[in-house]
Symmetry: C2
Subunit: 233 residues, 2 copies
Amino acid sequence: MAQCPGLHQHSPNVRDWIASFRKGEVRYERGDQVFVQGTRPPYLFTVMAGVLMRTRLLEDGRRQIINFMFPGDFIGLQAAVDGEMAHSVEALTSVTLCAFARTQFFDLVTQQPRLSFDLTWLAAHEEAALEEHIVSLGQRNARERMVALAVFLVQRGLDTGLAPAGVLQLTITQGQIADMLGLSLVHTNRSLQALRRLGLVDWTLTAIRIPDLGQARRFAHLDGGSARLRPYI
Amino acid sequence: MAQCPGLHQHSPNVRDWIASFRKGEVRYERGDQVFVQGTRPPYLFTVMAGVLMRTRLLEDGRRQIINFMFPGDFIGLQAAVDGEMAHSVEALTSVTLCAFARTQFFDLVTQQPRLSFDLTWLAAHEEAALEEHIVSLGQRNARERMVALAVFLVQRGLDTGLAPAGVLQLTITQGQIADMLGLSLVHTNRSLQALRRLGLVDWTLTAIRIPDLGQARRFAHLDGGSARLRPYI
DNA sequence: ATGCTGCTATGTCAAATGACAGGGTTTGTT
DNA sequence: AACAAACCCTGTCATTTGACATAGCAGCAT
């Protein structure tokens, strides 16, 4: 199993069990849909490398990006207990995923206490991330939202070793930023320019650069997040 | 343990284990803080009766209401794995909670596969609810958001037997609605009046009335949610 | 009665954000 | 070279939402 800095390793016997449980690795390229909203996926995944996004479509075409997923994240928890997907998952970079059969999910929770705890840990932290996103959408204006998102992404990049120099190399279009933050594309563009002029965040198509993380955090009214060791399933 | 319609019951031995695990019942009145953001609570809770809300404060006084909690919900998952609360929890009605020691949380996940699965189920559904809320905040305008929230609350009321006649008796101020939907109080007031005039939702201080649930769902671009049997921890 | 508190309502104006329309650049394809 | 497809950028104007100030109304204590 691939090593990834920032993620803890399991004991040998847990690793054995994982090895028997997993159904192999899958690879997707940027733009590929891993899950499609409304379908019943037979497999669940763990992200081993790459970045993805979780999106939700309304019937009239509006799209909301719910969150981004980094190495270590579990894809399909909701499908695991409900069957049908309420959102889609799409690759933002080349990704490699580790696949599990959905029907075995119950066994995982039941027979592997340690993994079950890790799963709970991941679920709790995903919830915390969504909470933060809700605070952004509800209370912060366009610029604050952008800075908050940029800080979040760079922080996750740092945690998972994807942003070694404090610069996250990740191609996200302004349209995607707009759909994540609930803003129009035009307003997103203007706000990004403003932040660039202010020297707070330099966000281009292919990279996010934050000159001063502390200053950015203060601007967006974020409390300093401490790095955490994420579990790996 | 109190019976609550819409929640499934456990087998006798699981009930025994729960009985030994729980530390007793607690009662709070409207306005009481069950958890305070930034503290490390020694207890976790299950909601047995009543309604609460989860809120998040920014240092400059802005407040975001994250979600509402109904009977069957688990309070403190994030504190269980992290220790420190990222949000506050406040009672909206008289509530009775079932308390567990936080230090025993690991035992619950480890030793009770069935309960561990239920916990995962609850976490997944809480995540889905937050997802829906994010879609509201990001993509829906003021009126759509309000209708979406009203439908969500009435649906949860129906599921948990709190809204027998399709009318949810629950006192929520316009200020709270505003803080939930990320709108100003004044705009919330005007939008509520508009919805009342349109006959879509009649939301007063003490009750939410939706004359035609299907129509309301269509207005807010919500897909019809099916009732689910929620687990009880 | 008086004042107080928390909540809902209204009027007026300002600021944030969205809609539409069009132009520019890069990249890849034929 | 010509074209097309994605992007990013800019100008102008409309709409949504927020800010501020004020009034009314019920409950409640003195």
